[in-house]
Amino acid sequence: MAGTLRPARTKQASEPGPDGRAELGLLQVIGADGAAAKTVEPELPVEDLQRMYRTMVLIRTLDERALKLQRAGRIGFYVSCLGQEAAQVGSAQAFEERDWIFPTYRDPAIALHRGIPVVELLRQCFGNARDRVRGRQMPVHYAFREIRFVSISSPIGTQLTQAVGVAHAARIRRDPVVVAAYCGDGATSSNDFHAGLNFAGVWKAPVVFLCVNNQWAISCPSAKQTASETYAAKAVAYGMPGVRVDGNDVLAVYRATKEAADRARRGEGPTLIEALTYRMGSHSSSDDAARYRPSEEWEAWKAKDPIDRFRRYLARRRAWSEDFEHEVVAGASAEVQAAIEEAEGTPVPAIETIFTDVYAEMPPHLREQLEELRRAEAAGRGEEEKGEFPL
């Protein structure tokens, strides 16, 4: 019938072929064997490639240790990004220092890649007195002003409209800034996804939306999240290009992101990139994916590990050796270990941190409440009651 726009294809998560033209338009650079499709292989200096590899190993090392800390009750909660390292590092590599990043809780590698030391992350996870966010947020809710890595929030999706606001403001000020706005597949259902992409389309805001499709939102699989063919296809609704990329292929992610960032910087507007990957762990330390997730799916994705894949590529380019590996792994372990020791040894934040930063200046009623609490504390503490965190 006339006027009908029919979604053309039905498979949600396709297995990419070893070239740049796979099913459902999935862009791929590195094949399973580590060979690159020459037509789409980005030109990156070896040092950059090795730095990317380092970050990927570092975050994996941190994730592993941090989950153990959580199990041991030494930190209260943790979210691992196991399996998603390429999506973070490939995209992070594509942005410039002046660009702004709106990450989710599953994107800590971006902070590392932009130069934040592990200890800063662990101070936050321990919520201690040296934590940038002063022990106010649950673990993994980082904020780093100097790398324009904007404060992570728990409510899903809220960063997406904010990213558009930053981009629009930068344009008004004539600053050649591009904004990276990350979100998960679940977040595409949020109010802010819709408003953010719509505003970005109308305003031609310099934003790259990066939907890291790990195929699950806690226990909700993509098939129950949306009937859209792909997440990239949602771009059509906002008049912007939609790009689908193999999220376990760090170079494909880099390439797609770089092109989108370049477009944005040229004033040609926003892009939505869907990076197809897989959440290899449970949702968080409070979740048990075994309750709802078929293990075959996990097995299949295990074979596509993004670090292994990138290592094979580096080896082919002679940018990797056993010695290099050893140095990278040992370096990562040492940094994480030292960071844990520092972070765990740091005391909890001072009482007044409950009351500061609510406003730029503490108003009288908060001063009064702080004094009240100080008096009560002076009179002696009650015993601590400790809750159990389920998510």
């Binding site: 209260g76 909660f77 919520g127 201690n128 022990g135 106010r136 947020q137 649950m138 809710h141 929030s153 728990s154 409510p155 899903i156 999706g157 679940g186 977040a187 259902s189 949020s190 109010n191 939102a217 806690i218 226990s219 909700c220 129950k224 999240q225 949306t226 409070s286 979740d287 309750r291 709802y292 909890v348 934040p349 009482i351 941190t353 409950i354 009351f355 609510v358 009623h365 908060l366 409440q369 609490l373 009560a376 504390e377 009179a379 002696g380 503490r381 009650g382 601590e384 009651e385 400790k386 809750g387 159990e388 965190f389 389920p390 998510l391």
Partner: protein, 324 residues
């Protein structure tokens, strides 16, 4: 009678009502196969099938908006919001739609539905997994607001909420989900909405509380008793409509009131309790109406135990009232 936790009482109520009334459906994020992140809906999908217990996409706006529609059609939606902190994307549907549907349509259309949400601090959840924003809903005419503090009340009040002809915000104090246990009658035992529960009789001061602050008050009252102060405790159970009669009766007897709530102090529902007493019982008041509440800050993570009212702070409030 069975000994259940608050959480088990939620599940028991849902199961009981789903068995009794085939119009009842339960849905929200992760409530199906996963049984909810707190396991409140554990086993329901298995027993009642995917049509009566189902997952939704990640949109509270969609959850509540579709719940309103289901209620309009005549089935009985019980929507779960994973944490009360995440209800705000649905705020418009709640305050503009569910709350006003009966009124604005002259009764042509109505919204009997329940929104369940775990709320409050005590689980080290930080800013976004700890909020107590009941006051927003209490200030919204057209909504009922129900908060249990015991397993038996959890079951009984939830049964009544599902049967109510109006939208009910049913808030579950997650801090005591697993820590508080109690006898819960088996089968169909609704507890009526709009009636407070006298937790403890006393003569010198009334402690007014709801949710997880009720056990805190009990502890404070025990400590006060050791110091020779005799506290009465009123668990409001339903904040809207409020059991004003019980409130006034108790304070007319004791002449003193301490209102305990974990939400930020300013404009919290405890302010309404104070205001009612100051308007209707001032002549009996022998002391300031003391509020022991959360501070007017977002909810902190590491120091949450300092943020939350505890027995010690309640006791200080009691002493302030009694020593006046």
């Amino acid at each position: 009678m069975a000994e259940l936790t608050v959480l088990q009482a939620v599940t028991d109520a849902l199961r009981t009502e789903m068995r009794r009334d085939d119009r009842v459906v339960v849905f929200g994020e992760d409530v199906g196969k996963n049984g909810g992140v707190f396991r409140a809906t554990e086993g329901l999908q298995k027993e009642f099938g995917e049509e009566r217990c189902f997952d939704t996409p990640l949109s509270e706006c969609g959850i509540v908006g579709t719940a309103v529609g289901m209620a309009l059609y005549g089935i009985r939606p019980v929507a779960e919001i994973q944490f009360l902190d995440f209800i705000y994307p649905a705020f418009d549907q709640i305050v503009s739609e569910a709350a006003k549907m009966r009124y604005r349509s002259g009764g042509e259309f109505t919204c009997p539905m329940v929104i369940r949400a775990p709320y409050g601090g005590g689980i080290r959840g930080g800013l976004y997994h700890s909020q107590s924003s009941e006051a927003y809903f209490c200030h919204t005419p057209g909504l009922k607001v129900v908060i249990p503090s015991t397993p038996a009340d959890t079951k009984g009040l939830l049964l009544s909420s599902i049967r109510d002809e109006d939208p009910v915000i049913f808030l579950e104090p997650k801090r005591i989900y697993r820590t508080v246990k109690g006898e819960v009658p088996e089968g169909d035992h609704p507890v009526p909405l709009g009636k407070a529960r006298l937790v403890r009789e006393g003569s010198q001061v009334t402690l007014i509380a709801w949710g997880a602050m009720v056990p805190v008050c009990e502890k404070a009252a025990a400590e006060a008793a050791a110091k020779g102060i005799d506290c009465e405790i009123l668990d409001l159970r339903t904040l809207v409509p409020l059991d004003e009669a019980a409130l006034l009766e108790s304070v007319r007897k004791t002449g003193r009131a301490v209102v305990v709530y974990e939400a930020p102090k300013t404009a919290g529902f405890g302010a309404e309790i104070s205001a009612i007493l100051a308007e209707k019982a001032i002549e009996v008041l022998e002391a300031p109406i003391v509020r022991v509440a959360g501070f007017d800050t977002p909810f902190p993570y590491t120091l949450e135990n300092l943020y939350l009212p505890d027995a010690r702070r309640v006791l200080a409030g009691i002493e302030k009232a009694v020593g006046f």
